[in-house]
């Protein structure tokens, strides 16, 4: 074996301490250490240094480190958004639900207390000239039961409420009728039906004999229908529109319909009410009114002063208003 220097031997210490020394180099190191006290002492100090180093207590990450890393981890945009909106969910979800309920409640209250909004939500009344049908036009026969397809809920409600208006005796059967039947257009006022056109001839005969009774039945059915709507999950239209309520029919026999209409409009306006629509019918001028509930008695007395007044049905009330169909007759 060739002679080796102390430095060459000491260069092997690292590999020796890591057990990475080949057999030949290992033997050479051991042979040298057996004869060199200085290198032996140096080897012991080297080995001790490494063992001290390896005995150092491992460092530990601070508490909460994992959570902080996970929190800092970038998330997809939709998760970040969901986190912003809902976390912590025990706090944010109830708050958001309460906010939705509050806003919905406020919207309902504002709508209820704003007749302007209700009017804006109502479809404009069709002009009389358009809806009027020449009297010579053959009256349509009873319509087959039909669905309400093609008819908006507002039209449907107006249709139902109009049925409380009695029809002239002898007029052709009306086109629109029960909840199970519907016509896409309004009934021509030129030939107002006396009653709803139920297919059953028996029903028509009864109504022709007692038109008022028929009108009351219609009103009763309307109330039942209204009650059913209230029992059902409410919609904004059902809850709020006055049109969903049946109107009180006020028959007023006057000498001059035009003059009476003007006076009626005046007194309704003074009472804080409003004329919603006006239409001509054979032998009658029909006004649709809304009057503040608290002023209705006053308006009624004023109407009695204009002519012979007869009331039929119950006033439809909603949001503190009474809806009245005023029929001015000669």
């Amino acid at each position: 074996m060739a002679a080796v220097t102390c430095q060459e031997i000491r260069d092997l210490f690292s590999a020796r301490v890591d057990d990475a020394l080949g057999a030949e180099a290992h033997a050479r190191l051991d042979a040298h250490l057996a004869t060199c006290a200085e290198c032996t002492a140096e080897w012991q100090r080297f080995e001790r240094t490494v063992s001290l180093l390896r005995a150092v207590t491992p460092a530990r990450a601070p508490a909460g480190f994992v959570d902080r890393v996970l929190a800092a981890r970038p998330r997809p945009w939709y998760r970040r958004l969901a986190r912003e909106l809902f976390v912590p969910w025990p706090v944010k979800l109830p708050l958001e639900a309460a906010a939705i309920v509050l806003v919905a409640g406020l919207a309902i209250v504002i709508f209820q207390r704003s007749p302007e909004l209700q009017q804006a939500a109502r479809a404009p009344e069709p002009p009389a000239a358009v809806t009027a049908r020449p009297p010579a036009m053959p009256a349509p026969g009873p319509r087959e039961p039909d669905t309400v397809q093609g008819m908006t809920s507002r039209e449907h409600q107006r249709d139902l409420s109009d049925e409380t208006t009695p029809r002239a005796p002898g007029s052709p059967p009306p086109e629109r009728r029960t909840d199970s039947t519907a016509a896409p257009e309004a009934v021509p006022p030129a030939a107002p039906p006396l009653e709803s056109p139920r297919p059953a001839a028996e029903s028509r005969a009864k109504s022709a004999q007692a038109p008022d009774v028929g009108a009351r039945k219609e009103a009763d059915q309307e109330r039942g229908s209204s009650a059913a709507r209230q029992a059902a999950p409410p919609t904004s239209g059902d809850l709020q529109t006055l049109e969903a309520r049946p109107a009180l029919l006020a028959r007023l026999r006057v000498a001059d319909r035009a003059v009476a209409a003007r006076r009626a409009a005046d007194l309704v306006g003074r009472a804080g009410g409003e004329v919603l629509s006006r239409r001509e019918e054979p032998g009658a001028l029909v006004l649709s009114l809304v009057v503040p509930e608290g002023r209705w008695d006053e308006v009624r007395r004023d109407l009695e002063a204009l002519g012979a007044l007869r009331l039929e049905g119950d006033p439809g009330r909603a949001a503190g208003l009474v809806r009245v169909t005023l029929r001015l007759e000669d």
Binding site: L53, V66, L70
Partner: protein, 185 residues
């Protein structure tokens, strides 16, 4: 490697599938080792935590590029080592040295108080000695003698030839031996 994972494949598969729990497991498993490397290299706990956190966040972003031909631990050490060396080279040091306070707090009182005090002093001396090493030698001795990586793993983590690793490690140990004369026979 100290407490090395025996088989990374199942965890790696879950990580690549975007399993959030898998990433949490990875951080939990390697947090102390990554933090330890950063602390020995930088000396300040706050800075070490910052670097350790950045290590995991970079790993999270780069999971799709990780080929899996190295162990997950080695890969994390690679990222942490480079971040530490970059920080040291940048001169952007905002933290005072705080080392590992847990090591400095020797238990007080009791029959072994003297021995504990001596151990505390020894560990403080060791930390000082390691901290005084040149950075290129310090990272090698930290990875080898404190974290237990093999020569090959260190060479891979640092992108160095194997002989360079051996040389730097040997010189680092000789430097430490010279600084620890008081504690040696």
């Amino acid at each position: 490697m100290r407490e090395g994972l025996t088989d990374d494949a199942p965890l790696l598969a879950r990580l690549r599938a975007g399993d959030g729990r898998a990433f949490e497991e990875l951080v939990t498993a390697y947090q102390h080792r990554v933090f330890g490397v950063a602390l020995r290299m930088l000396g300040a706990r706050a800075e070490a935590e910052e670097i350790a956190q950045e290590t995991f966040l970079r790993a999270h972003r780069a999971l799709g590029d990780f080929r899996g031909d190295a162990r997950l631990g080695t890969w994390l050490y690679t990222i942490a080592s480079r971040l530490c060396l970059d920080r040291l080279a940048s001169g952007r040091r905002r933290y005072e040295r705080s080392d590992d306070l847990a090591l400095a707090q020797a238990p007080a009182g009791g029959a072994d108080a003297a021995g504990a005090l001596e151990r505390g002093e020894l560990e403080a001396a060791l930390r000082e000695a390691v901290a005084a090493l040149p950075e290129d030698r310090r990272i090698v001795v930290v990875l080898r003698d404190l974290e237990g990586l093999s020569y090959e793993e260190i060479a891979e983590a640092l992108g160095l030839p194997l002989n360079t690793v051996r040389t730097r490690l040997h010189r680092a140990r000789l430097d430490l031996k010279a600084k620890l004369e008081r504690w040696l026979p």
